[in-house]
């Protein structure tokens, strides 16, 4: 599993380009952040795309880019910083060339300053870097076993997260086949709290065990099978269904049960 971050200088959220979505597929954990915020993140992804478009690369932007780059230089593992700024001219171009010239790890930078961006080049380069060190994280999966049909679940439960990467109550309710009112009652919150900001900070802790339960999908065919499993009586759960116990406030215990199932834990 590899991580991808799309980052940009303006404060309005931009959509991750379709080119990246198409090329990377669902084997990647994707995030999308403003550059200023990305520069403060401690979690350094394998591939970071800094898209500057026609933005003027002033001193402030240069500092943010350098701060972000410093984390990339210092991180262990395979990392690539892909910087695009088509039609960069004058001082902007000079600053970006200086950035490349002074990079502590120039092998970790791909600078694309002319014409339409070609993200495929960055992906190809990262894959080559990963192959060179023996990591297959970003390479396509080899469908060699029945398990390969479950590859769509990697990264785990990405479909339960909002665009900003936090757990989101809406897809969780949909997957579990429950209403937001049900969830609110079970986690001891107001329905309005959940419906207003379904991926809010306050909800993350209570949604975490639900994410753990949803990992059961690794062993199941699809979402329908997961909902059926939730409602099926299980001898190891004292003859009751997982959903029965979740309703009783035992979602953490059910998440632990799922973890045991996934790891063949003797019980």
């Amino acid at each position: 599993m590899a991580d991808f971050l799309y980052t940009y200088p303006d404060h309005r959220q931009r959509q991750t380009p379709a080119q990246a979505m198409d090329l990377l597929g669902e084997d990647w954990r994707m995030r999308n952040l403003n550059l200023e915020r990305a520069a403060t993140e401690t979690d350094v992804p394998n591939l970071t795309w800094v898209e500057l478009n026609e933005e003027k690369v002033d001193e402030e932007l240069y500092v943010s880019l350098s701060t972000l780059a410093e984390r990339v230089w210092q991180s262990e593992g395979v990392h690539l910083l892909y910087v695009t700024a088509y039609n960069a001219r004058g001082g902007s171009r000079d600053r970006l060339l200086k950035f490349l010239r002074t990079a502590k790890r120039p092998e970790r930078v791909e600078l694309d300053l002319v014409g339409a961006r070609d993200f495929a080049v960055a992906v190809a380069r990262l894959n080559a870097m990963m192959s060179a060190v023996g990591s297959s994280a970003a390479l396509p999966a080899c469908p060699t076993s029945p398990d390969a049909t479950n590859r769509h679940l990697e990264p785990l439960n990405a479909d339960l997260r909002s665009e900003r990467g936090t757990l989101d109550a809406k897809p969780i309710c949909k997957l579990f086949g429950i209403t937001q009112a049900d969830l609110a009652a079970w986690v001891g919150m107001k329905k309005s709290t959940i419906s207003k900001t379904s991926d809010g900070k306050k909800l993350q802790e209570v949604l975490q065990p639900y994410e753990g339960v949803a990992r059961m999908r690794l062993l199941l065919k699809d979402a329908d099978a997961f909902r059926a499993w939730l409602r099926t009586e299980e001898p190891l759960l004292e003859g009751k269904s997982p959903l029965h116990w979740i309703k009783q406030g035992k979602v953490r215990e059910i998440a632990d049960y799922v973890d045991d199932a996934l790891t063949g834990q003797p019980s």
Binding site: P146, D147, L218, L219, L236, E238, L262, T263, G264, P266
Partner: protein, 194 residues
């Protein structure tokens, strides 16, 4: 905690036989989704013989028992499986020994009682025993009869090894199905954190 089980101070530990390799059978799809390979360990999660605060590792004494454990969860699904091997060097509290059970005042039923904290609250007797064993310094873990094997009509055993109980010269070495060492207690390196 040994005060709850005074017999622990006098029961002799049973060394793990040289030829025994404990094992775990894990769906391969799970291995693809998790790195590093620290998931075999219970960390922050209760088990039959541990509270959530007690890091430990569970394994089966043979592949038949590991298979029975794995089968409990498979439910007819087709999955490919990978075996992990756990080499334990150290002394165990052997609950397969009737004299030990008697000394600890355990009934056979108590060994198979529900422990997940669903319909009951608080630590179970087996979890309290695990805590006492981990703290005793006399055993690195417990050998206990496998409920999964019993359900399938044969006699099989599992072990739980407590990190706190594994002190040199005792050791636990986990290897993958390629024979590569993936983890070791006591740690020689800090790469794997539990």
């Amino acid at each position: 905690m040994t005060a709850s089980f005074p017999a622990l101070t006098s029961i002799e530990g049973a060394p793990v036989p040289q030829e025994v390799y404990h094992c775990r059978i894990v769906p391969t799809v799970v291995l693809k989704s998790r790195e590093p390979m620290d998931f075999l360990y219970t960390s922050g999660k209760a088990g039959r013989y541990n509270l959530s605060s007690m890091p430990c590792i569970y394994g089966a004494e043979d592949q038949a028992t590991a298979g029975a454990e794995s089968e409990r969860y498979r439910k007819g699904r087709t999955v490919s499986l990978t075996t992990y091997w756990i080499k334990v060097t150290g002394d165990l509290l052997d609950l397969g020994d009737a004299k030990v059970l008697k000394a600890l005042q355990f009934t056979p039923e108590e060994l198979y009682a529900p422990w997940r904290g669903l319909s009951t609250q608080g630590p179970t007797k087996t979890q309290l025993l695990g805590q006492a064993v981990a703290e005793s310094g006399r055993f690195c873990g417990i050998r206990f009869p496998a409920d999964a094997a019993k359900q399938r009509g044969f006699s099989g055993y599992n072990v739980v090894i407590f990190r706190e109980g594994v002190k040199a010269p005792w050791s636990v070495v986990v290897s993958n199905d390629q024979g590569e060492e993936v983890s070791r207690w006591p740690e020689l390196q800090t790469f794997f954190q539990f």
